[in-house]
């Protein structure tokens, strides 16, 4: 990883065996929670309103686990070339906000999209970009403080050649040792455990998807949380018209 926090390329595929173990570990968490909630429901001690609440949670947990398995299938099938085309990144950000609105609401949080004017389209695969942002936003949901906002942001970087799309969370300050571990592991294209709820495999998947689009992911540590971002090349196609 360079000093600005960007991930370097390389290492793709060499950690596949490691990632299977991590995938198993990460899928264990939602399964554990589903089992606990199912056992609680079957105990008969829950009120009708609690029952409705728990069933709603079980639905969201299942959907999250299914997203993860679907992403893993995509990562495994990366020998297929993904079609790249001009994509409006803010449209994708808004789709992600809509897709996760129910999950965020169930956690009592909200996901905001910052308005950016005159942002050019980027060269990307719309579905992969969506999946990257879903992973970042899901990670942020679990890391952010209860009252901490999560925000999807975009900015045009130097020389107007790259757009950075970030998911900014506000959570507990990450100790430097943990942060170094996270960034070093990102560089090595390995799943990481520094943010145990979802970032390990989610960030690994996001990195693999980014590489398929000649994009890169990175992270910025803030005093009160973190930003995870993907950088994509600006599409020159439309600017030539």
């Amino acid at each position: 990883m360079d000093p600005s926090g960007n991930m370097s390329d390389g290492g793709r595929g060499i950690n596949r065996v490691t990632s299977i173990g991590v995938a198993a570990h990460e899928l264990k968490s939602p399964l554990v929670l589903l089992r606990q909630l199912a056992l609680e429901l079957s105990s008969g001690d829950v009120s009708p309103s609690e029952q409705k609440h728990i069933l709603g949670q079980m639905t969201h947990i299942s959907e999250k686990a299914l997203r993860l398995t679907s992403d893993l299938t995509r990562v495994e099938g990366q020998s297929t070339l993904f079609e790249l085309s001009p994509v409006n990144p803010m449209d994708v950000a808004r789709d992600v906000r809509t897709e996760l609105a129910g999950l965020y609401k169930a956690h009592g949080r909200s996901l905001k999209v910052s308005r950016i004017r005159n942002l050019p389209p980027v060269i990307a695969n719309r579905d992969l970009l969506r999946r990257i942002l879903l992973n970042f936003a899901d990670n942020a949901l679990h890391y952010a403080d209860v009252n901490g906002a999560v925000e999807l942001q975009a900015q045009l970087l130097a020389e107007r050649s790259t757009v950075r799309i970030s998911v900014r969370d506000h959570g507990p300050h990450m100790p430097l040792a943990n942060w170094r571990k996270l960034t070093n592991t990102l560089e090595a294209s390995q799943p990481v455990y520094a943010r145990p709820q979802s970032s390990g495999l989610g960030l690994y998947i996001a990195g693999e998807f980014a590489r398929s689009m000649n994009a890169r992911i990175g992270a910025i540590r803030h005093q009160d949380g973190a930003s995870f971002y993907v950088e994509l090349p600006v599409s020159r196609q439309l600017s030539l018209l």
């Binding site: 829950v46 403080d145 455990y193 145990p196």
Partner: protein
């Protein structure tokens, strides 16, 4: 007198589940989502027991256990670990930190949570 239990768990919905189970068992419950917040709550509440996850966001449970050992008035609080890493942690290795029970999240029953807390308070 009500028995106070602090739950340290960064999965919000799993924590919610623990709190419901413990409240039904008659315990007064408090929740911290991460180790730093846990220290403050434990210091304020002075719980009778702590239910602690291991892989916490940011600082891990081990750092929290170390921190608790440095406070003379908090060292006597019994701790129950509830973890996905139960097969990798031996009770004898963590007993010196006040850990009295280890629950395996993958195999435990909700009743085991109250049973473990009751057990460490006996």
């Amino acid at each position: 007198m009500t028995t106070r239990v602090v739950v340290v768990e960064d999965d919000a919905w799993l924590a919610e589940h623990y709190l419901r189970i413990l409240r039904r068992g008659g315990y007064e419950t408090y929740h911290a989502a991460h180790a730093l917040g846990a220290i403050d709550i434990i210091d304020d509440v002075r719980p009778h027991a702590i239910l602690l996850d291991v892989l916490l966001t940011g600082t891990t449970a081990l750092a929290l256990l170390h921190e608790l050992r440095t406070h003379a008035d908090l060292t006597a609080i019994p701790i129950v670990l509830a973890t996905n890493l139960a097969d990798q942690i031996r009770l004898e290795d963590v007993e010196s930190y006040g850990v009295k029970r280890i629950l395996d999240k993958a195999t435990m029953h909700p009743d085991d949570i109250t049973a473990a807390v009751r057990g460490v308070l006996a």
